[in-house]
Each structure stands twice: as structure tokens, then as C-alpha cells.
Point group: D2
Chain length 142, copies 4
């Protein structure tokens, strides 16, 4: 792992919520981060699908870490805001959140993300959610 | 409890994610629902504050149930989309999500929500997040 | 007019789009700004109602100027992002955009706004749109 | 022109705001519509750049017409909500709004859009804004 992959792996391991959701880092590249989460009934809404909040949690983290790969040295990322569309029920055996940087400014980074639902072992998926997010660079330790 | 309070209590109990987050229904009124969640390190992001995704999960459920109180008989609510602003770190001993209906249409209901962070036993709080959400009425069992 | 009212009046007068839309400043108070726009067929969408873009333009300016009333001396406001819900057709003889500051930070200000449609001379209105927006403080002249 | 191109051209011509902004339809394809707008000082905000509201107007129309190309026969499209990020000042000699369908449902269509700023006659551009929008199918004439 290179330096930013190590830094993101350490930060991800410190996110209690990611462990609670059963999520794991699946890919860290410059400007793009993937987070995977298997289905669990402990993540459900009332109809048995995965709750919009759990779907949002993994794509928010994916977008935040994607932003971190493009942030100035010594900075942290916090989420200023995001918007998520839910296009179909979050049904599947596993979910992959893909976060990408669209524009990295000095202060603000704009990211887009999607969550893909897989129903079997194959590569086929359906996009269940789309995110557009604004991330803020803050000095680490601030 | 009246009929819609019973119905919402039953639906809430079926949301696996709410139990996973340690959240509970705190108020159900016509057009307004509150959900409370105590702080836990299992909900944290990398700095130890509550993750934006957990904050969003409770206010999404609060908005969805607020919409349900105004929906036609026999319908379910699903989230079409939401947008959340995070105004300060989610620090506190407990959090209260307040969801309110702003406009209930035949097909779509627009809600706003906020999440309040409390640091002690008193009534003082700071608003840490604001949501604006679109909920869809779908036939129950569809 | 006090200092910030003068400054906002001057800035508003420099917004070519506001003149193009026939909009005028209706109220400037600390943390709250109103902008009024009469109906015109030149602002319409295909059904003859006011276009979502014109509605958004006035409430964006109202939110931006509300943010300016709470910004540090010597700073300008630019819109980082906004989200608008349209709850009913924008029908009316005049429209009033109300922008309010919800939280003013050092760098970012979160505002909410609504657009009210009036159909006669009286005080009755319907809210046709809701906005939640993020404004950025930038040094003036930057 | 095929049938949906004719229908969209007629609808566009009925949007008073598009004429007011100096905008024109540049491309109509299945699931994708482009709208072009030259720079004019009549569209400006206080610093002389194009106002976020004008930028939003053209990308909202582009997304709406993209949705219309995928909607059931006999239906109209109205905007339920949109969210726009502004990534840099809208400077340029002309602007192109590109709206694309991401998912077309029976009731709701989710679109994404971007606005490209061109500074000369060449093909180079910068993306100044990103939109994520929810469009609703309504029966025509309703």
C-alpha cells in the first residue's frame, strides 16, 4: 500500500459505524474509493430491504475518502452536505459504494457516488442510489 | 396509542437498522415524528463524532414516518431522495431527529428534518444537521 | 438604510439577472432577506407557470444576501450548492422569496428559503418551493 | 426531426424563460438533451459572472426534456426537486447544459446534468455546475 492507501485504511478502521454496518474498504485509488457491505437484516428498513441510511453511510464514506486522496497534505475531510436519490429498493446480497471526485478545490471538493446492488456472485449489478456531495478540507487535528 | 401510532411503532420495530443504531421512537404526532439515539462509539466516524450516515439514518426515518401520518390509508412510504447539511460535528450524549411534513401531495410528500445534539440531561441542544426530503406514497404490499 | 442594507442594495442592483426577471429587494434584515418578483409570461415554463429556474434564481439571491448579512467584514458570498423542492405549480400574480440563515460558520453558511405565491392583493399565499443552500464566504475582490 | 424531437422543440418554444435567457435547444436524443446559452450581462450576478439561477434554469430544462424522451406517451414532466453544485465561477462566452436520464421509473425519473463553460470557439470547456434531479411524470393536460 502507498501512503494515502495506508492513511485511508487507518482512518476507515477508526470509523466505528463502518464496522457496525459490516462494511470494508474495497478499493482506494486517486480520486476514487469503493466500500463494500454485505446484506444483513440488521441493516433493514420495514420491508426488509437495506435502509436508505445504511446505503447513504457507505457512499458518504466512499466520497469522503475519495476527496481525501485529493486533499492537501495534513488535512482531514468532513462532509458539508450530500444529496442522495434512491432509484429502486436496496435488494441484494452485497452492495458496493463507489465515490469519485468531480472537482477538488482548495476548500471544497465535489464528489459523486453510486451504490451498486449485486444479487449473486457475478459482475451484474443495479444502481440503487446516486449521491452528489460537498466535502470540506479542514486542518488535521483542528 | 391511536391507530397510526400503533402502525408506526410496528413499522419502526421492523427496521433492523434502528435497533442496530440503538434508536427509539420518541414522539409520533400528525405530521411530526421524533427519533432518539444515544451516543455510541459504534456509530462514530474517524474523529470519534457520530458518522453523518447514522445522523442521516434517524432523520430519514423520522421524516418517513412523519410522511406516513399524512399518507392515504393503505399506503407505505419510501424515500425518493433527501439532502442533508451537516453544520457542526455530531458531538453529544444523545441525538434527537425531528421530522416534519411540509407538504403532503397525492403522490409525493415533502418533509424537513433536523437533528439536535444534547450534551447533558438538560433541554439545551445544538442543531447538527438539516434535512430536506421527498417521500413517495406507494401501495402497501406493492 | 444602515450599512449592510446599502451594501446589499448596491450588490442587488449589480445582478443583471434580477433586473431581467423583474425582481426587487423587498426586505433586508439581519439573517433574513426577501425578494419579490411579479408574474410575467417571459418567466414561464411550457404550461404557463413560472419556470423552476426563475423561482430558484430569486430564492438563491435571497439566501445569498441573508448569508451576507452574517458574513465577516470584507467578504463576498458565493453559492456552493443548493437543493430546491417544488411542491406545486408556481401560479400567482407575484412571488416572494424568503431566505434565512440557519447557521453562519467561519467558512460556510447554511440557509433555508421558501418561495410564496400570492394570487391577489391580500396576505394569503401558498409556498411553492423550499430551498436548502450552502453559501461560502470568500474575500471580496478575490 | 422525429416525433419526440418535434414535441420537445414545441415545448421549448413555449418556455418564455428560455427565450428571456437567450437559450436554444442544441441536441435532443433519447435520454439526453443539450441546451446552449450565450453569455450576457443581463444574466449576471454581482461579480459579472452568470448567476447560479440562470445556470440552473438551463440545466433544469435540459434534465426535464431528457426525462420527457423516456416518459410514457401522453405524459408531461414537472420538476419535483433538484440539487446543483457550483464548482467555479460561471465565466465564459457560452454555456452548454447537458441533461441525462439515469433511471426512468413509472412515476419518477432521476437525471443528472452538468453545465459546461466555453471561452472561445474551440471544443475546450470547464464544468461549472453539476445537477442531480428528480422529475415526475404527470398526465398531459392534468
Amino acid at each position: 500500500m502507498n501512503e494515502f492507501q495506508q492513511r485511508i485504511a487507518a482512518s476507515f478502521a477508526a470509523q466505528g459505524l463502518m464496522a457496525t454496518l459490516g462494511a470494508r474498504l474495497a478499493l482506494v485509488a486517486e480520486g476514487e474509493v469503493h466500500i463494500e457491505m454485505p446484506f444483513s437484516i440488521h441493516l433493514s428498513q420495514q420491508q426488509g430491504f437495506v435502509h436508505a441510511g445504511a446505503i447513504t453511510s457507505i457512499v458518504d464514506s466512499a466520497c469522503g475518502y475519495a476527496a481525501l486522496t485529493r486533499s492537501p497534505p495534513g488535512s482531514e475531510i468532513v462532509t458539508a452536505e450530500f444529496k442522495t436519490n434512491f432509484m429502486r429498493p436496496a435488494m441484494g446480497t452485497r452492495f458496493l459504494a463507489v465515490g469519485k471526485v468531480q472537482n477538488a478545490g482548495r476548500m471544497l471538493t465535489v464528489c459523486t457516488g453510486e451504490v451498486r446492488a449485486f444479487t449473486g456472485d457475478g459482475p451484474d449489478y443495479k444502481v440503487v442510489a446516486l449521491m452528489q456531495a460537498t466535502m470540506v478540507n479542514v486542518p488535521a487535528g483542528a
